[in-house]
């Protein structure tokens, strides 16, 4: 007895065989290779993403390190500046002290020189006075009225001083 609707089990089996061949063939020829490629690309981009994340983390770490170093450097600069300032002040003070000492030395020398000059001048003037006195005495004693000579001498001395 034939099946209704022209259903033929043999042809259904042939269709099954055809579909089985198609499923297997398309799986091995197309579906699997394309999926493998897509998975490979996903893996590639995942790796890239991971590398980018790693680099980002590394960059953050380096940034933190540099920030830390920068902060250390600022402190170091501050200390160096303080040290330099201290050294400068010390140097200035030393120079001031030296200048002071030198000034004192110069002043003391100047004082000594002045004293010596004064003494010399005093001595010289005494010598002059003595010599004048001697000269006057000699003249008085030898030639003229001593009073007139004295007067002449005195007038001449005034002229000499005015010159």
């Amino acid at each position: 007895m034939p099946w209704p609707l022209n259903i033929d089990p043999q042809q259904i089996l042939l269709h099954w065989m055809n579909l089985a061949i198609l499923v297997g063939g398309l799986y091995f020829l197309l579906y699997k290779p394309v999926k493998q490629f897509m998975a490979k690309r996903d893996e590639h981009y995942r790796e890239l993403d991971q590398q980018a994340q790693d680099k980002l983390l590394q960059a953050d770490r380096i940034q933190a390190e540099y920030k830390e170093k920068l902060e250390g450097a600022e402190e170091e600069i501050r200390q160096s500046r303080a040290k330099a300032q201290q050294s400068l002040q010390q140097s200035v003070q030393e120079q001031l002290d030296q200048a002071q000492a030198q000034a004192e030395l110069i002043v003391s020398r100047a004082h000594a020189d002045a004293e010596r000059t004064r003494e010399q001048a005093l001595y010289d003037s005494q010598q002059d006075i003595r010599r004048l006195a001697e000269t006057a005495a000699k003249r008085l004693a030898l030639h003229e009225d001593p009073f007139d000579q004295f007067l002449d001498l005195a007038e001449g001395g005034t002229d000499h001083e005015s010159k």
Binding site: N6, I12, H15, N18, L19, V23, L26, K35, R41
Partner: protein, 280 residues
């Protein structure tokens, strides 16, 4: 501007000429009546084709074999020439292939998250078969029947045997998913949906057959062959190729996901300690 006008006049002239030809030609010598044509389109029991001299088969089976051959040759060519040239930034063909594979793979993953590898491959092949098989009728490949009449090969699934084969095979795939995931329980789960092979088979058959009947009807009357086949033959075919592909693959992956879902372990019944009063 003049060229455009000339072109328009030529086009209208050709259209009118074809219309006049269609109207004046009239029906040719009919080999069979419209009733016989419709009946044969449904049953395929008149115009049969010899399968390599071994057996007389429905033209749908020949169509199915041809569709498989076309698909496998295309797949082999793609495998040999296109796949090795795939790049991380895809070209047009690569994008199309990845979209096709990704579509069915994602459908399988979405509908059957526990087991999706096998069902993904199956619905990819089934989808390709339905889509290409439905569009196959547009090629209008002519063959000679055992009776000596030339006929155009129909879509494979307009043959009830092909529809039953695909429906039952899909059911077997669903059953295999149930068995693989849940053993005997999976068989039970699958057998609960005993109407599934019938519904899937005849849904496919009905959908494809309705399209075929309308097309047959249109082509039977030559006066209807002006403009109308463009809509009926091409657009409808394209539309239900997409719809039927989506429906069968979605149903298969959905039921596969349902039966392959692992059953939750039954909570163990704790033995209640009997009260002293009961002992008494």
């Amino acid at each position: 501007m003049n060229q455009h006008k000339k072109g328009l006049v030529v086009w209208i002239g050709i259209v009118l000429l074809l219309l006049a030809g269609a109207l004046l030609a009239g029906p040719g010598d009919r080999v069979e009546t419209v009733q016989e044509t419709m009946r044969d389109a449904v049953l395929h029991n008149v115009n049969r084709i010899s399968l390599l001299g071994l057996k007389e088969v429905n033209p749908g089976l020949i169509s199915a074999f041809l569709v498989t051959i076309i698909l496998l040759i295309a797949a082999a060519l793609i495998r040999i020439f296109a796949v090795p040239r795939f790049r991380y930034i895809p070209g047009k063909l690569q994008l199309l292939l990845e979209q096709a594979v990704g579509l069915f793979d994602n459908m399988a993953r979405g509908a059957s998250p526990h087991r999706f590898r096998f069902v993904g491959a199956y619905i990819f092949a089934a989808g390709a078969f339905i889509f290409v098989g439905t569009l196959f009728e547009l090629l209008g490949i002519q063959v000679v029947t055992v009776g000596g009449h030339p006929i155009t090969l129909p879509a494979p699934l307009s043959d009830v045997n092909a529809a039953i084969a695909l429906g039952t095979l899909s059911y077997l795939v669903i059953l295999s998913g149930g068995v693989a995931a849940n053993g005997v329980k999976g068989v039970g789960k699958t057998l609960k949906e005993f109407s599934l092979p019938i519904s899937m088979s005849f849904r496919l058959f009905g959908a494809l057959l309705s399209g075929l009947l309308v097309t047959e009807l249109v082509y039977y009357y030559v006066n209807l062959s002006f403009v109308l086949p463009v809509v009926v033959g091409v657009l409808f075919t394209l539309l239900h190729a997409v719809i039927q592909t989506y429906v069968l693959t979605m149903l298969t992956s959905m039921y596969y996901g349902e039966v392959s879902e692992p059953s939750p372990p039954k909570p163990k019944k704790k033995k209640q300690a009997s009260s002293p009063a009961e002992h008494a």
